[in-house]
Symmetry: C2
Subunit: 200 residues, 2 copies
């Protein structure tokens, strides 16, 4: 069974303060053109998206540097809704770790982007040490300025997925994460992120 972990991308999608909003406009219609067609204008970090190292690290890789295998792998859910430090002992090399804050349950709230998770830099360093390939979070960002978590992960070539939704569906499951950005060679990209829950 596939579970969607992706925000709907549209005019209503919350945008990080200062980032462009999503714009969608119709450019053809069935009556006069014979088909319906739209244009989407969105930032590389709108809605559910992937950050490449080049987003914050000078000389860091852009998304075009990665083969598709980098975006797909065994998933691990870490419950960070409480303040207890999570147990990372079962995390293995090339895992995709999803940090569950519960924040995206209120993604439509005006303060969504001001609710920044309080992850420790130590947790980011532990995940880097474990050799994970991607870290995702169900919040607008993994941290706020001056972005120590971003820099620890991206500086060690670990990709980041932000604005995930629906992580509660993964509690007590084994799952694979498929987190595919568009095939752009940029600092980030909107992505479709789904989980394949095994044994269901």
């Amino acid at each position: 069974m596939l579970v969607d972990l992706t925000m709907r991308l549209g005019r209503q999608t919350p945008a990080y303060p200062g980032d462009p909003e999503v714009e969608i406009s119709q450019v053809a219609n069935l009556d006069s053109d014979g088909f319906l067609d739209h244009v989407i204008r969105c930032g590389t970090h709108n809605g559910t998206h992937i950050d490449a190292p080049g987003h914050m690290i000078r000389g860091g890789n852009m998304l075009g540097a990665y083969r598709p295998d980098r975006f797909v792998g065994r998933g691990r859910l870490l419950d960070l809704r409480s303040q207890r430090p999570p147990d990372v002992s079962s995390i293995e090399e090339n895992d995709i770790v999803l940090l569950w804050t519960g924040f995206s349950e209120a993604a439509a709230a005006a303060d969504y982007y001001s609710r920044i998770p309080a992850f420790s830099t130590e947790l980011a360093e532990q995940l880097v040490g474990r050799g994970v390939k991607l870290v995702g979070v169900d919040a607008g960002s993994v941290d706020a300025e001056p972005f120590p978590i971003h820099k620890t992960l991206l500086g060690n070539d670990v990709l980041i997925a932000e604005n995930l939704v629906g992580l509660s569906q993964l509690v007590n499951t084994e799952f694979e994460v498929i987190a595919l950005p568009l095939n752009v060679d940029l600092d980030g990209s909107p992505a479709r992120v789904v989980a394949r829950v095994l044994g269901r």
Copy 2:
């Protein structure tokens, strides 16, 4: 092993005549903002993309009507490089059928979008009869105006993927197709399409 079947999306991506071109512009930079950020403007049918029924069928579904399972499934490659009718007898319900024309090997050529595959409406009807969930092609379109193949597939709720690349990598393999559009509720969307080649 995952094989990428997706065109790079950028300014150079070929656009269907009359469709908007892909535009990418930088909106933030490391020196003054602390991060690199871009805006992407592209049509719902630029580069490798998925067509929903609403693209050509009045009242047809938009992409938001489909759960992720609709975009992932067992893949079948049909070699249409010759004029011989392909054998569809092994195709099963919910398969994803990739029609291999070889045309996208010259996607940068000026005549790419004027090279329209000569699929028969009968083939489209056979695929509909088999109950496939998605049909992909490595060409700019499955057909030209008045779009009989589009209308047969979309009119029977079969999704279409166009501008695939690299299908030759799938010859004599068993594979799964993962063809994920953005999470938009529109007539189509740029997509990341990959194949998981089994046993490699």
